[in-house]
């Protein structure tokens, strides 16, 4: 097999060195009753040209010629070509976890830069080396708040991404953490009065998302103020990290957690993406995940190293802050390259186009169609249209025009009826927006 480099002669020599005649003898320790004595029933091995043909065929059965207005936690943005060029270097993608700092400084410095970028975007003191994604990151943030406050209840805005809330429920259920949902108002924002009415000293954290699932920008200062008054932490979840390029970072948050896929990572049908978590310095020892620190070697040269490892599973085992082992290292590198490429002005400019194009789409839909735009609050690059008629009839028409007009959110919010969550980014052209509007007329 072409990935196995030893020749017949090599193998014979190795068998001799071991003192046996055949490889089969090495498996003598496996009882015969447990041996598989037939070939695996999987497709026969393919050559390289056959593999390419097969996967081209499969990829071809995924539509690439549709105009999509899907967002909802996974976003289409321009991805600079330099990212793939750099991460295709095998020095980066075939490298192991940087436990041996002397021969992993490339990975370590890049992750240190990623950590720094996240603190700059979020305005908090410290960020970890990444988590699997935003949804598990939110789960981890809630466990963290539980550890810090020793309390068992968490308030979560209903406008937090429904899949994120579902993941949190899975994480929280078995450690006795109770989740209480707080509704949204007509503006689309979390109901502050409702938080104030329900909160007490049993609440570990109040969680809001901004921009929230409906695309509405939330302001955290009042939410944080209510939370802190009762000794609870303020957690802010961000699904659309591009927004941090132009919007003020969440005010007074204790933990900002979320998804950085928007910053240089392809949509990839849902993964791999990039979770991030940032917090205040005082909570650093309660953070899950790896941390890269800056120090010196024996000769006083600058050196980066994995640090504060005693929080982690390989040392604390059952008392660890999390069970997490791998992070999303290569994706964190992609994000660092993206931010280095865009710079603060490029990032801002891109975020601006998101806002401007979304604004145009909203205006056109209001002016030219009979549907209403839900929620009066400010938005970044997503909004909700409440359709005046049943979605199914429109859906067929859009499919024929090769347009996916957005996400039908009745599956998550049945109370919002025939509603479509629409996302417009810098990659959406005016013609595409106009075609969407025409399809809605």
């Amino acid at each position: 097999m072409r990935y196995l480099p030893s020749s017949e002669a090599d193998r014979k020599g190795m068998l001799e060195a071991i003192g046996i005649e055949s490889v089969e003898q090495l498996f003598a320790g496996i009882p015969e009753s447990l041996r598989l004595r037939r070939p695996l029933d999987i497709p026969p091995g393919l050559t390289e040209p056959e593999l390419i043909q097969f996967f081209r065929g499969a990829a071809g059965r995924n539509a690439t010629d549709f105009t999509s207005f899907l967002g909802a936690g996974v976003y289409r943005h321009h991805i600079p070509v330099v990212i793939d060029a750099l991460i295709s270097r095998s020095e980066f993608y075939t490298a192991y976890t940087p436990y041996q700092a002397e021969i992993a400084q490339g990975t370590l410095q890049a992750i240190f830069e990623f950590q720094t970028y996240i603190t700059q975007l979020t305005g908090l003191d410290v960020a970890n080396a990444s988590l699997y994604d935003g949804s598990t990151g939110l789960g981890e943030a809630i466990l963290m708040a539980h550890r810090i406050t020793k309390r068992n209840k968490v308030f979560i805005a209903k406008s937090v991404h429904p899949e994120y809330r579902a993941v949190v429920a899975t994480y929280a259920r078995n450690i006795g953490i109770e989740i209480e949902l707080i509704d949204f108002t007509e503006s689309g924002r979390m109901d502050y009065a409702a938080i104030g009415k329900a909160i007490d000293e049993t609440v570990a954290a109040v969680v809001v998302q901004t921009p929230n699932f409906f695309g509405t920008v939330e302001e955290n200062s009042e939410i944080a103020s209510i939370a802190h008054k009762h000794g609870a932490l303020s957690i802010v979840n961000v699904c659309e990290a591009m927004s941090l390029g132009i919007l003020k970072p969440p005010q007074d948050a204790d933990i900002v957690v979320g998804e950085a896929q928007s910053l240089g990572i392809p949509m990839n049908f849902g993964g791999p993406h990039l979770g991030f978590l940032a917090t205040r310095e005082q909570f650093v020892r309660q953070m899950p995940g790896r941390l890269v620190g800056m120090g010196e070697d024996q000769k006083g040269r600058r050196a980066f190293v994995l640090t504060l490892s005693t929080r982690e599973q390989h040392i604390r085992r059952e008392k660890a802050t999390s069970n997490i082992c791998t992070n999303q290292s290569l994706c964190a590198l992609m994000c660092a390259i993206y931010l280095a490429t865009m710079g603060p002005k490029g990032l801002r400019h891109t975020a601006e186009q998101n806002i401007q194009k979304t604004h145009y789409a909203v205006q056109q839909i209001r002016a030219r169609t009979k549907h209403s735009i839900l929620f009066s609050g400010p938005r970044f690059n997503e909004f909700v249209i409440q359709l005046k008629e049943d979605y199914a009839s429109r859906a067929q028409r859009f499919m024929r025009s090769h347009i996916i007009p957005g996400l039908h959110i009745a599956r998550f919010y049945p109370e919002l009826g025939n509603s479509l969550l629409v996302c417009v980014t810098e990659t959406t052209t005016r013609d595409q927006i106009d075609a969407l509007v025409k399809g809605l007329e």
């Binding site: 020892r285 490892s309 005693t310 040392i315 604390r316 008392k319």
Partner: protein
């Protein structure tokens, strides 16, 4: 080797009793086994613990060790200097590296502790 005026536990803590108060720390052997101490987690003043219960932890780069109360008591003082300079625990475990001071709840518990000689024997056989 270990100071005579102190009593010891098998978990490598030492305790120096004066009347109904005592000072608690970890032994030379303990800090050697740990290596360079990087972080110390200590309780607050007023916290109460039973004997043998964990009152904190000591971390080196690659290991964490819990700290166990030699006797039951209430914490009256916490050494904040050693928290800020954990290397003191390595350099002076019996002096500046003290960890907490307690008010002893039950003086009779001292009889279960090891004398310096007994502790020396214990670590010699354990090694």
């Amino acid at each position: 080797m270990n100071p005579e005026g102190l009593l010891y536990t098998k978990d490598h803590e030492w305790i120096g009793i004066t009347g109904d108060t005592a000072t608690v720390g970890i032994t030379l052997h303990a800090q050697e086994a740990l290596g360079d101490v990087v972080y110390i987690e200590l309780p607050g003043v007023g916290d109460k613990f039973e004997a043998h219960k964990s009152f904190g932890s000591v971390e080196s780069v690659k290991a964490v060790s819990e700290l166990f109360m030699p006797m039951s008591g209430e914490v009256t003082e916490v050494n904040s200097t050693v928290k800020d300079n954990p290397e003191t625990l390595n350099s002076d475990p019996y002096g500046k590296g003290w960890l907490i001071r307690i008010r002893i709840a039950n003086p009779a518990e001292a009889s279960a502790l090891l004398s310096a000689q007994a502790y020396d024997n214990y670590i010699a056989t354990e090694a």
